[in-house]
Homo-oligomer: 431 residues x 2
Amino acid sequence: MLKDAYTADVTPERDGEEVRLAGWVHEVRDLGGIKFVLLRDRTGIVQLTLPKQKVPKETFEKVPKLTKESVIRVEGTVQANEKAPGGVEVIPQRIEVLSESDTHLPLDPTGKVDADLDTRLDARVLDLRREEPQAIFKIRNVVTTAIREFLEERGFIEVHTPKIIASATEGGTELFPVVYFERDAYLAQSPQLYKQMLMAAGFERVYEIGPIFRAEEHNTRRHLNEAISVDIEMSFIESEEDVMRVLEELLAHVFRKVREECEKELEALDRELPELETPFERITYEETLDLLSEHGIEVEWGEDLPTEAERKLGEIFEEPFFITEWPRETRPFYTMAKDDEVTTAFDLMYQGLELASGAQREHRYDVLVRQIEEQGLSPEDFRHYLEAFKYGMPPHGGWGLGLERTLMTITGAENIREVTLFPRDRKRLHP
Amino acid sequence: MLKDAYTADVTPERDGEEVRLAGWVHEVRDLGGIKFVLLRDRTGIVQLTLPKQKVPKETFEKVPKLTKESVIRVEGTVQANEKAPGGVEVIPQRIEVLSESDTHLPLDPTGKVDADLDTRLDARVLDLRREEPQAIFKIRNVVTTAIREFLEERGFIEVHTPKIIASATEGGTELFPVVYFERDAYLAQSPQLYKQMLMAAGFERVYEIGPIFRAEEHNTRRHLNEAISVDIEMSFIESEEDVMRVLEELLAHVFRKVREECEKELEALDRELPELETPFERITYEETLDLLSEHGIEVEWGEDLPTEAERKLGEIFEEPFFITEWPRETRPFYTMAKDDEVTTAFDLMYQGLELASGAQREHRYDVLVRQIEEQGLSPEDFRHYLEAFKYGMPPHGGWGLGLERTLMTITGAENIREVTLFPRDRKRLHP
């Protein structure tokens, strides 16, 4: 490798040691007889100090020619120095330019110049060099690792279900068509039907963290057309409560892990994470409507909650909470009903965002066929799915959790695009 | 939950304890005064023993009506019994049918009746209940977990790059078109360009385990149109050797983990895994052609290796090995060349399969543009990608490893569809 240490490894304790570093030129300060270069890598920034007397002439003379954001490689000596940032600096013997940056930057990666989100996303590669995005995507990695760790410990096994599907998942709207050789196909809007089929296949507990695709027309701060969904499905549940418990414990675990492992990143984002107390509060859909009405927002029974209502609920509840017993007309055919009016479906809400949706599923073949028909769909279109219910299907349930929305609540990002490397939306297919 | 133990938890040591089990009726044996039910769940099979005198009449009388593959729930007492399989049985007090199976099964999940692969894939849900597929997908989970563990330990962070892309990754062939609102788009055939852009973004070490989509026309035992690729990219490498070392160590780690954690599953597959010794052998493309020629297979310089040649190499080499220094004309534009003829590209071969491909990438903007043009492509089509090379791009490299092919070598599966839950190929979009 061209380097043997990160800038974060350069500490006062290593005074006198030789290091090989590489990274980006964050800043250059030329005071004549002494020159400074701030060298940035993914772990932070270290100061290179070049006193004319102490470094080779060739190295010293290279500094004024360094352009910001060029990639350089440095061989030098660590020197503890109370006056240097972090109490340490590096006296370089050798500086090699590995890749010279154009001097006209479309965006300032030091973050000193504000840019609007569209400009930033257009120059996403430079934007991602800034401290805040770096913090966000380190947190994202800790979150997915924490999710896996939690689920694996509870016996869930990771699966990969197909993303190219022959028919609609939940009724045909909002699908992206794919030209699959001579046939029509679609991109999966969720792994729903497949994870259920895996319950019939005897897997008992599965999870998937993978892309979902939704051809939603509206372009909001909370929607992406391609997102990552965390999905679980589990068999032999007694009621939806069994999967709700997994969800609330998971979220509390994730918050705990991020607090423990991302102190520096949370600080960069100026963010304090609360300790989430479980169990979360549960209120029924009906109670939610009453509560909203008390706050001047009227929602008709059977309607989904409008954005305004979700926002208001985010003001009323400080902690995450569940809305339970959603009306039948708001939920897809595979949801198990509780009675003629309401279902076992629940949403997990936090900070005015719907983070997750789930339910106990209908596992009885006859009832399922009836529910498909009641929603105006054709059982024939779900032939392969329905087959799975004929030969012993355990009672089961699950949920889907939006990874990006969860990250919004953790990082404080106002726009879902901030927590996505290369977002896809109604208008954006680039970069 | 409807159960508090798996069948594997039922051991002779728990003699006398009450358990609640649930699973599938694997077999029923009715000897009149004593009846047996083999109860299967994802951990194995346990015998339920019903002596007429010892179980409630209602429970006893339920047994003859149980259809194979129905889902039942059992409350009973563990009884150590040397004559029972595994030295233990359960005397049920109560049996409840949760889901009755149709008696006409399109496939025999006990595995006693052989079926061809197409029939099995048509009835994949029942097929997956068999012992071998259950073993394969448990191993698959151990493999992905081992890969993540290995990479995270070495500082790689997991990323999610977009699967809907606006332009071709590597030159436009073999892409599935997507209708993205009013625009043309495609499914990503690899995360290649995006993981490189993340090197420009300063991530230094990333990995992704995600779907790739290839509209390859040919339908072979080694190809899928939708597969899972394990991709890494790392910055500040000195040469392609740096990423080859990560790859060989990773594969050795994965084999070790599977040997340690999947003893039972390997036994079910009648499979012994070797300990892989690193470093793997490296031979150049040119040496490979000579070697093949000695074995009577002539490949013209500049050609990819035909299947027959790969198979022959699998006979010659018992261990995994690298083919290095591929000719320029066999490799995409982003590959770094070594000279006018050969590149830094390598393939990892094992058991006659190409498991992985990688290289050092060309990080110099001007050279990259020239290489794009030399391949008859238009730099304008790669505008957003090329932008990333203008503002400081470190030397970097990486590889893509086919998860399913790796699993073929581990499980001994002859057909890639065996290691895929719901395979997608030229002819199959269902289930």
